[in-house]
Amino acid sequence: MSQIWELIVGVCYSLFRGDWKMSDIVNQIYLIGVRSQLVVIVTGAFTGLVLVAQTYFQFHKFGMDTMTLAVNSVAMCSELGPVLAALMVSGRVGAAMAAELGTMKVSEQIDALRTLNTHPVDYLVLPRIVATTIAMPVLVCEAIAVGILAGYFLGVYILGIDPVYSWANMVNITSVDNVITGVIKGIFFGCLISFIGCYKGLSCKNGAQGVGEATTDTVVSASIAVLMLNFFLTLILSKIFAVL
């Protein structure tokens, strides 16, 4: 636990007083954000499609077809978009971070960094955390947009739902709060996933086996942490938006 606090303090110090470089952050945004787009887009699209299909099958029994896209839109914005994008990113990015930093740790590359007048937090950890925290909300927005579009395509062009009423219901029921909730969740999830990936990588031991364990631990821990944090964020953000 003390190591976790030490890393949190180290990251905070590095953010304000550290010797980090913008070029490292931009490079990480490319690696994390740009190269995660395909998996996030595919996940968002199929989530939207299956949600619209299932909702339609049930709503159709009660003649509520035109509410189908509204349900998809709200669910994608505030829950499914951010959570599924985060789970995909924790599998792709979190695991990669743990593996990369873990390999560097066991092959003395991190010690080498330290002897080359470079603080590992400044060079390895902070750019990854900042980049993921920036990239994640963008990825969430993409997942939401693609999920809604894919659902709209399925609902209107294949299932034959009335587009005008569906669109009107979707716009009426989906509030800006739903979108903001998704974006805020994305920020927290990005920070959480990258922190877990970096922590597991830096605390890696026992050679190749240790790297494997760190990678697996990262995916499991980050996935569970995302699901748990999502619950608490849902409660907190709903309270905040209710007051506002």
């Binding site: 092959s107 080498a112 080359l116 007048n117 470079t118």
Partner: protein, 247 residues
């Protein structure tokens, strides 16, 4: 100058260093010898501030580094360079990027100046035209040379070598030994070599510290070491495994 007083370090129940005392003068080429697993690399990591001791004092150029925060240590490490046993090259970077890493991070030189410095430092370690190769494309000896070039590009005053000839054939080992000697003379640096290679000890060393049972057992010149009749020294120098395991 490096001064070590009463250095203790344990990992669990394993007492690796049990009161190491030593002093290495500026510009000196010191060799630390001892059995495998005897704590040589742990001692080197203490000298470079990579590990904090349980007890003791380590002064680098008069500054006690024990208990220093990592960021304070970074300033002290500007005067140091370390060549790691496995070279520890950054495998996501080319040779040129590895060697120029320090200068690039420092941000005081232009890309052209860094490229020139990389070229001249690689020439110093007898490597040419390898800037665009990847560490995975290099042989063990070349990796060590690149590791050394990366370490010395910023002109440190102390260079530490951790088992510089481990895993290399005798010919490459000899070339590495001569390279260490040359860098010691050309750059006028304090050199600390951790090894159990007797040829390196003879070629590079001016003074030899023998680490045994977590302490400096003897300090001698290489000539004294090879002429010594002390049972521990004799057994180690001649690689005799028979009899009592006395080292």
């Amino acid at each position: 100058m490096i001064q070590v007083k009463g250095l203790y370090k344990s990992f669990g129940n394993q007492h690796v260093l049990r009161g190491v005392d030593m002093q290495i003068q500026a510009g000196e080429a010191a060799i630390i010898i001892g059995r495998s697993g005897g704590g040589k690399s742990v001692l080197l990591k203490h000298l470079t501030g990579l590990i904090c001791p349980d007890k003791g004092e380590i002064k680098i150029n008069g500054i006690d580094i024990v208990g220093m925060q990592e960021r304070e240590l970074l300033k002290i490490r500007r005067e140091m360079a370390v060549m790691f046993q496995g070279a520890a090259l950054f495998d996501s970077m080319t040779v040129g990027e590895n060697v120029g890493f320090y200068l690039q991070r420092e941000g005081k030189k232009t890309a052209a100046e860094i490229a020139k410095a990389v070229e001249s430092t690689l020439e110093l370690v007898d490597l040419r035209g390898v800037e665009n190769k990847w560490p995975s494309d290099l042989s063990g000896g070349m990796k060590k040379r690149v590791g050394l070039a990366r370490a010395i590009i910023h002109n440190p005053s102390i260079v530490f070598y951790d088992e510089p000839t481990a895993g290399l054939d005798p010919v490459v080992s000899d070339s590495i030994d001569k390279l260490i000697k040359r860098i010691c003379e050309v750059k006028k640096v304090t050199t600390v070599v951790i090894t159990h290679d007797m040829r390196t000890t003879r070629t590079v060393g001016e003074r030899v510290f023998m680490l045994s049972e977590g302490q400096i057992y003897l300090t001698l010149t290489p000539d004294e070491l090879f002429a010594s009749k002390d049972p521990k020294v004799y057994q180690f120098v001649n690689g005799i495994s028979e009899g009592d395991d006395i080292i």
